[in-house]
Amino acid sequence: MQLTINGETREVADNSSALLLWVLRDELGLTGTKFGCGAGICGACTVHVDGVATRSCLLPVSAVAGKTIRTIEGLATAGADGVRTLHPVQQAFIDVQTPQCGWCMSGQIMTAAAFLESVPAPSQTEIVNAMDNNYCRCGCYVRILAAVTKAAAEGLNAKTPSGQVAKKMQVAA
């Protein structure tokens, strides 16, 4: 079976009962999409299916054949020079210093990105309602709200100023 993920065609095992989350994570190695509950409650596994924020933990992979899937790994855009530009929502999450542990953040960002595509100038209440179904156990809600508000105010096409980019944690070999 073929899936279109982040603009690429990927071949996956023909297993109609396999769930998209685990195909992404364990079969294709796209571990940016996270497992939180397996019950469609927490939102950590949110991806875009044809542009719609969708919980991948309950979704049989057979249901998304022929559809366009976007994960957190495909949210930034890569230029020809190998340099990528973060999605404005990702940039806003850095600018506001939103994540703590980070486990829910892919889901938060994918939810916010799809929401702002459909509601470009949301009210505060609309943002809260849109983000209310994504758990953050670290309790970053104040900053998630601030980041989505910031991304909305600047617009999805805005080129935000460069955020502070530091080195990633490394595990030494």
Binding site: T31, G38, L75, A76, T85, C136, K168, V171, A173
Partner: protein, 747 residues
Amino acid sequence: MSDLPITQSPITQSPITPPPPKRRWRITRRGFLIGSGIGVAGLALGITVGTPYARLKIAEMLASGQGQPGSFPVDPFAWFEVLPDSRVRLFLTKVEMGQGVHTALAQIAAEDLGVALSDLEIVQASTSQGPADGNGTSGSSSVATVYQPLRQAAATLHQMLRAEAARVLGVPADALSVAERAFVVTAAPEQRVEFGALVAEQKNWEVPEEGAPLKPDSEFTLIGQPLARVDIPAKVTGEAVYGYDIKLPGMLYGAVARPPTLAARLTAAQPGAAATMPGVHQVVIENDFAGVVATSRAEAHAAVDALELTWDEGKLWQQAELEEIITVGNGNGITIQRAGDAPALLEANPALIQAEYRSPFAVQASLEPQAALVDVQLDRVRIWVSTQMQARVRSLVAETLGVDEAIVEVTPTYLGGGFGRKTGFEVAVEAARLSKAAGVPVHVGWTRTEEMRYGYFRPPTHHQLAAVLDANGQISAIEHRQASGDVAFGFFPTWLATVMGADFGSYRGAQIHYAIPNRHTIAWRHELPVRTGWWRGLGLLANTFAVESFIDELAHAAGIDPLQFRLNHLPDDTAGQRMRAVLQAAAEKAGWGTPLPEGRARGIACCTDVGTVVAEVAEVSLDAATNRIRVHQVTAAMDCGLTINPDGARAQIEGNIMWGVGSTLIEEMRIKDGQVDINNFDTYPLLTMRDAPHVETILLEAGDGRPRGVGEPPIGPVAAAIGNALFALTGKRLRQLPMTPERVAAA
């Protein structure tokens, strides 16, 4: 535009690299460690947790005539490496679980090393590279314990490099300054030598005899700055690698059978249909353990469900029985605070004011469940795991497999939340057993139901408080009698628990910090048939809820404003002055005493914990139709001493407040028919954005230059502040957590 280079995360590459050469350390006379044996030139300088301890051991060795300082085998808990390519790497044993510890420690290290934060590479150390850090990452202790030795090591390394640069350039050491990762002659910057050039040749580095001077606090450029966290970019791109994400070539997935009840024992097990199910590679049945290794997680779980297992269910415990155990006066209480003679003054006093409080079981509920990848080979065991306690993982896996700890390598990953739960080790032990049997690397990642049911819980508590007021409205005597399930004792050997008597984890926050002439606190500990243990702040939330709600009751009984009443009882010492400052700051910012819109009220509470003082004001309303409490805003003032990263400290306050609100309004785990009566977020929901309060934070500093903990103290006052606000609004006093609509209606 933000330009992040597209790179593979190093952590995913590490599994396929060869084992690292074992570094050896020699300890210097001043208690530092100089590393060798990495096979290249370069300089490694490390520090132990207890440099004074190391010095003591050296002194003992010298006194006894055995050994020399250079031969004393000690592993460092943090160390620098300066490499010939001028990279400076800081290896840390403390794990990053969202609390920002890597950034805070990097700020501290870079300050005295004299480099920019971006010139420092932060590396999460595996246990094979150094020590396992027996303290782990917990108890809001990392920055407070590491601060001074890390600065000393950074300053010493700076001094060593500076001296070598002075020799190479032929100028006095004080004629040099640091420019990026090089020393330059200040008056002639074209004369420079890179760090890498200084360490390019193998040489015997000596630590200077005199202590390297530390930068005066007034000259700090990094410590105290709200710098961007080093781990955040990878967390918005999906590249950050956690225990659930680790991959190795040839790996399979494991699942483990779980007991149907709290007291169940596995009495018989047969593979049954599981052995021939699709994807199954191995069925593992050993004594009390049954698990399956399969090609996918789904196949592993399906096969576990098909195992033929016989359980002796044991006693079917009910919630009411457990609450009866957790009752003040049941068994022997241990006095943990005594000033004056409160019991005598309170006994049979007609003016006695008393109240009882209760808090329930709660779950840590990290959004990343327990996860580990383990590769058991004949001569080497490698583990990647979300853990706060890599030393414990190493020793328990070694014990389970019957191998020497020295061949077990534990690499902590990023943690998708810790909150005390990831000091556990079960998942790594399970993956190790399965990997050993299957002969391939095995990943075990718990389901949400496993995470909800098979860990350990915040224990339930019961509190009896009693006090008398004098004619001036001052408390003349107060007693707090507290009963709790175990916290720390759940992890201690029985003999140690017996010697200690009272569980410091359970009674955290239980003592009365006000200046009351007669104060008495007694703690009863109880082992329960449910595992209880670490949870953010341990007993702090429950104890502060009881004590600070009761103080509020006394304030109202005395007819004195609750803020003023607290101020009236503060001791006239540094601790009292710090508490006064945070109370007044929070109250002022929250508009304490000023009118609110109809239907809203404020409540105040405070606590002292790990040397940090916090005061919080909650602003609430009550939906009359649903009896739901709404927390609109929490204003928090905290003094954690020297603040390393103010933005990180504020984030910790915000997170703690969300935890506190969730625990106050929603979170409760119950036992039913011998089993934990929750299995996912539908039966144990968490706070969501709609119910999240706005948070205002104020940071004060004690002014003594010492950092204290921030990861837990702000959780303390939340429940009491909300309950006190509800009383101010409605006259209803909620004495049991959580404050559900049913309890509000019944109050």
